[in-house]
Amino acid sequence: MKEFIQKIKTDALAYLKSLNWIVLLGIAAFCIVLAIINNIRVEDSKSVDWIGSQEILEKPADIL
C-alpha cells in the first residue's frame, strides 16, 4: 500500500512536471486581464464591483 501511494505521488509529480506551466499561467494571466477589461467594457447595469458579493435571493416556496 505504501509503495502504491509512493508510486502515485511520483507519477503525479512527473505529470505536473510534464505540463507547460508557461502556457497555463500565461492563459490564466491573459484571462484576468480580459476579465478586468470586460467589466469596464460592459454597461453599468451589467458590471460588478471588483471586490464584493451579490445579494442572496429568497428561495421560492414552489420549488421542486
Binding site: Y15, S18, L19, N20, V23, L24, I27, A28, F30, C31, I32, L34, A35, I36, N38, N39, V42, S45, K46, S47, V48, D49, W50, I51, G52, S53, Q54, E55, I56, L57, K59, P60, I63, L64
Partner: protein, 239 residues
Amino acid sequence: MIDCFEKQNLKKTIISGVLLLIATFFVAVGVAEISFPETFLTFTDHEWLLDKWPKAYRYNIHVGVGAVIVACALIFPAIKIQKDFAIRALETLCRVGIGGMFIFASIFKIQDPHQFATLVAQYQFFSALHLDFVNNFFSLVYPQFELWFGLAMIVSPFVKESAFAIFWMFVSFIIALAWALWNDLGITCGCFELQDGAAHDKAEAWTSLIRDIILIWPTLWLAFRKNKSLIGIWKKDKE
C-alpha cells in the same frame, strides 16, 4: 498517409467511423436531453410523445444517461475494429465537443457579469468559507477561463494543458453543484444561460451534476494525450 486510410484498412476504418458517428449522435442526444430541453435533439418533449405519454418529459435524465451508455457501448467495438483511426477520431471529437461546450457556456456569462455574479452568490459557497469578497472577481474571471481554455483545446496544440485546466473546472462545478444539492439550495446551474430573476430550480442542479460527472472522464483522458494540433492528430506519428 496514416495507416488506417490505406486500401487494405479502409473497410475497417469506414465501419469504425460509422460506429463513432452513431455514438456521437447518441452523445449529442444525451447532452440535449440532460441539459438542453426543447432542442431538436430532445425527444422527451416532442408533442406526439407527450400526447401519448404526458409524463415523458420527466424521464429526460434517464433517456439522456441511457443515450450516453449506448454511445459508450458503440465506442468499444469501434476501437476494436480500427484502433488507430478510432483513437484519433475520438480525440478530435472530444476536443471539439468539450472545447465548444466551454466556449458556448462562457458567452452569456461574459456578456452579463452582474447576472452571473448573482448566480454564483446563490451557491453561498464563498460565504461559507468567509470569502464573500471574492465572489465578484471570481465571477468575472471564471467565464474568461472557460472561453480561452475551451478555445485553446480546439485551436492550439496544448491539449494537455487546456484539458488539465478544464478538468479542474469540472471538479469545481461538481463540488459546487453537490454543495448546492447537499444544502438544498434549489438553485439553477447557470451553466449555459442566465435566467433573469429566476435562479432557483432544483432539478437543473441534478441534471448538471450528472452531465459534469459524465464529461469529466473524456477530459481526464485528453489531459494525458500528447500535445498536438487538431490537424496534427491526423498526421503519421514519428517513429
